[in-house]
């Protein structure tokens, strides 16, 4: 049987069936819902572009807080996280196997602290009273006199969200890049040095990065998608949606706010579509930066 399996359908059918049922159809429904008024109980009624018009012209929270917050967050965490992932992967590839394994496991481990673990660590470390670790430390060395409300104060929330996200940014992109670097044929370097390559910078730009373009691209797309789709963190840290004075409100929180707190699913879908367009255009730009043109 296996000897005669040549048709491409053998390969893509299972994926296409599951992908269509559980991803494509729901996404299409979501896009259709974005043109309706839908409170999740009554049948949706079509209202055309009204959700979008409302979002872009009347939603002050969206324009004043959500959009700037999302961009600020994504444009810091995305590039910095990506750059850190590459540098760390590059360095790790140049130390012996055993040490590399241990360090890589530790560096990747934050990406595994989903849900409950995330909340427990950070809310305790940044807790607003004097039993919070950071507050206790700062009080001890005399930098502050009163404990700071790190998680409920709009002044700190965004910064803490960025730090926590950077802490966890060595994710799947990092793993892919590490595998990519390790896969580069060593003779390529030797040949390049014979041909007159002079220093490590040239080596990185002329050999390392071009030889691992697929992984660089993957890492970049993951960074874009990952940072724009973040949402849980601000809510988990501050314990509220909306976050205090919308200081940590990101697009995904705005979607949750309307979809699951106010039950305006049509409007929430419209925000998701806007987010999709945003991620898509930024990914396309990334693609043209790293993509193979074949």
């Amino acid at each position: 049987m296996i000897k005669r399996m040549n048709h491409p359908a053998w390969f893509f059918t299972p994926y296409v069936v599951l992908f269509t049922t559980f991803i494509i159809i729901p996404v299409v429904i979501a896009i259709v819902l974005s043109f309706t008024y839908f409170n999740t109980i009554q049948t949706p009624t079509i209202i055309g572009l009204r959700n979008y018009i409302e979002l872009l012209t009347r939603d002050e929270v969206f324009m004043q807080y959500v959009l700037p917050n999302t961009f600020k967050f994504a444009f810091i965490v995305g590039p910095v996280g990506y750059f850190m992932s590459f540098i760390l992967a590059w360095m790790l590839s140049q130390i012996p196997h055993k040490h590399r394994t241990v360090l890589a496991i530790i560096l990747y481990s934050p990406s595994m602290t989903a849900g409950i673990a995330m909340g427990v660590i950070w809310t305790v470390l940044f807790s607003g009273d004097s039993t919070g670790y950071l507050n206790s430390l700062l009080l001890n060395i005399g930098l502050i006199e009163e404990p700071i409300q790190f998680l409920t104060s709009p002044d700190y929330l965004m910064t803490i969200m960025i730090i926590v996200s950077l802490w966890g940014s060595m994710g799947v992109g990092f793993l892919a890049m590490l595998a990519g670097i390790l896969n580069i044929d060593p003779t390529l370097y030797e040949a390049a040095y014979v041909d007159g390559l002079r220093n490590r910078w040239q080596e990185i730009f002329y050999i390392t990065i071009p030889s691992m373009k697929p992984q660089m691209l993957f890492g970049a797309v993951m960074a874009v998608v990952g940072t724009f789709q973040v949402g849980a963190i601000g809510v988990q840290l501050s314990g509220a949606n909306p976050t205090p004075q919308y200081a940590g409100q990101l697009l995904v929180n705005h979607i949750e706010d309307f979809g699951f707190i106010r039950y305006l699913m049509g409007y929430a879908s419209a925000i998701s579509v806007v987010l999709l367009i945003l991620i898509y255009s930024i990914s396309k730009a990334t693609w043209s930066l790293f993509g193979e043109r074949d």
Binding site: I2, V16, F19, I23, G115, T131, L276
Partner: protein
Amino acid sequence: MASFQGMKINPSRYHKSQLKFYFFLFPMTLFVALPIIFIISHAFKPSNELFAYPPKFFVRMPTFDNFRDLFFLASESGIPFSRYLFNSLLVTTIGVFLSVLITSLAAYSLSKLKFKGKKTLFEINNLALMFVPIAVTIPRYLTISRIGLIDNYMVLVLPLIAMPVGLFLVKQFIDQTPNELIESAKIDGASEMQIFLKIIIPIVAPALATVGILSFQLIWNDTIGSTLYVNDESLKTLAFYFSTLAARTGNTVAGQGIMAAASLISFLPNIIIFIFLQGKVMNTMAHSGIK
């Protein structure tokens, strides 16, 4: 080549020229590791240490009280802890296996086979990757209830098997396999499926291991399936049970300890699986005949 001064990828032993890397890597790793050490240490603290002032980072008198409270709480609610654990293990095992297999099969067809609509499929896949999961929660629920999968064990797995990220990743790796390898196998009379099973799978093992890790985390940590698609309490998973803990225990002193214990238990399997599979992820393909 004694004078070669360049990149030493995957060096076989330590050399003092690597010191500069350690100099940077160690502080970074320490910074990353602290919160992780904290999860472990916190879970073993007795209640007087959990609320100590000034707070103590490391546990002084480690105890299993928090774990005992956690198990006790579960049995109190009617469903034994082991039932949630069993559900999670079963669902995750099936899910990871199917996800890796189905995703890599599709990736091979997208990378090396010719068929109509191939480019479109890849494009749609990447578009789907960019759509926030939260936005499809309700539409996905509507789809699932229409097919009649509500309260079916498989509903905890099926929606999570097709992983656009995984497809993208594996395809990127298969793209790097030289066509000559496939061509020569074809000349020897191998079918596409044989090529996939015998040649491609071993070569892209690192990517498959990565997809395995991702899919493990996705399914193991998923709470949406248990929350929305099954009503039968005995079919729900550990991640779901943990997500309800805060509401169950309230902000009590015992509650804090239970949360700390639960966070360690939910974190551990992820890291164990990762340690188990990382060898594959970081393995070089130098010996696999590419390049």
